[in-house]
């Protein structure tokens, strides 16, 4: 069997891969032995396959494996991450709530008062009868000069007034106020 250059070129891949009929293989080898061009083509192609088949040609960017691992981790355990996130959020909420509670307990108690600015009284005799406006914020001793609309006041026990959020009048109930409230009351007039 005799083959020409074109046939050799067409069969070079099969020849290098060992996927060629033995008779054709022998014919190709016979041709290559006497053809400088085909020898160069065969050797050059073999060289190409050898070079590109080297492991060193399969380079990956620096950090490729780490980034891949990280991405897989992020996607393989979404529930774990979600649970962790919820735990962090819950812990943060507890901390925030706790800090508010600590701040609140560290300052005079204001909750339930009708005014955020007034101070609760101290040692007010619970059974002492005081006067309040229904829509007012403070309770007064009888005869207080700040009771202007006497027709709309009602008389209740001091204990009851405090339970409803009323605070002592800074004028007539001054002796029952805390020191800081009393000091402030010296400068600020109050309205019922």
């Amino acid at each position: 069997m005799v083959v020409n250059c074109e046939t050799v070129w067409r069969e070079i891949s099969n020849y290098l891969d060992g996927e060629i009929d033995p008779i054709l293989r022998a014919a190709v080898e016979e041709h290559v032995r006497g053809c400088k061009h085909c020898t160069a083509v065969l050797e050059g192609t073999r060289n190409v396959v050898q070079l590109y088949g080297d492991d060193r040609m399969l380079e990956v960017p620096l950090g490729f494996g780490h980034r891949l691992h990280q991405r897989l981790e992020d996607n393989m355990h979404p529930t774990r991450r979600g649970f962790f996130g919820w735990m962090v959020a819950a812990a943060a909420a507890v901390l925030v709530a706790g800090s508010f509670e600590v701040a609140r307990s560290a300052s005079p108690r204001r909750s339930g008062l009708r005014t955020a600015h007034a101070q609760p009284g101290r040692h007010v005799p619970p059974d002492m009868m005081v006067l309040v406006y229904l829509d007012g914020k403070t309770f007064h001793a009888a005869g207080c000069p700040y009771i202007l609309d006497k027709a709309n006041v009602k008389t209740i026990a001091a204990k009851e007034a405090e339970q409803e959020g009323y605070v002592p009048c800074v004028r007539c109930m001054k002796k029952y106020l805390s020191e800081s409230a009393a000091l402030g009351s010296a400068l600020l007039p109050t309205r019922s």
Partner: protein, 218 residues
């Protein structure tokens, strides 16, 4: 063939891989890292051959690995896991390339050449490039440049067959083409690369490397 790849064909290695896959399917998800570790470079090179951009190739490779994990139950033992994985990587990279409309020009030119015969250039001074030359980064880069300059249909086949060492049949399966097409494209790719790598005759290296006529960079 590199030692690492050859060992995967050994029966013991295959059994280990099958066992790993079974355990992953049973819920030991962390074992997936062990399963894919030997193929990281191959998956990346597959996506790089198609996309020719490192950032896109890395992202596609990661996506491919994720898809493999999500669909591990669909893997059938008829094919090697590596082939299945490469197939996913090829599809992922192709999908990304389609999104970027990069295929509009190249495949037309590439397919037109496939029909005719290819005449290799006649180099009087061809000398073998020794493997030791691959130690030099610039040599590896020049080889990569030459490969990147090939038409996509040749690049894909060459990469899978000659760089990833898939068989002709596995290459055909991964690319979704016939065995005959693989052989035709592989022959063309090898001959074109051989021409591109020969300096002094208008090869890809000639325009970018300060070489005298007939000299080689190794």
């Amino acid at each position: 063939m590199p030692e690492a790849l050859r060992s995967q064909d050994e029966p013991g290695q295959e059994r280990d891989e099958a066992a790993l896959i079974r355990r992953i399917r049973d819920g030991e998800h962390n074992l997936f890292y062990d399963l894919i570790r030997p193929y990281e470079r191959r998956v990346y090179s597959a996506t790089l051959a198609i996309l020719r951009n490192q950032a896109d190739a890395e992202d596609s490779a990661q996506e491919a690995m994720l898809k493999a994990f999500r669909h591990i139950r669909q893997f059938r033992a008829e094919a090697r896991f590596s082939t299945w994985l490469i197939q996913i990587a090829v599809n992922e990279a192709r999908m990304r390339r389609r999104k970027e409309h990069a295929e509009l020009i190249e495949p037309i030119a590439a397919r037109r050449d496939e029909e005719g015969n290819y005449t290799p250039r006649d180099f009087a001074d061809w000398r073998e490039i020794p493997s030791e030359a691959l130690e030099r980064k610039e040599i590896r880069e020049k080889l990569a440049e030459a490969l990147a300059s090939l038409g996509e249909i040749y690049r894909e086949v060459f990469m899978l067959r000659d760089m990833q060492h898939l068989s002709i049949e596995e290459t055909a399966l991964a690319l979704g083409i016939s065995v005959a097409s693989v052989k035709t494209r592989l022959l063309r790719a090898r001959l074109m690369l051989r021409d591109l790598l020969a300096p002094g005759l208008g090869g890809a290296w000639n325009s970018t490397m300060p070489l005298g006529k007939g000299t080689k960079p190794w």
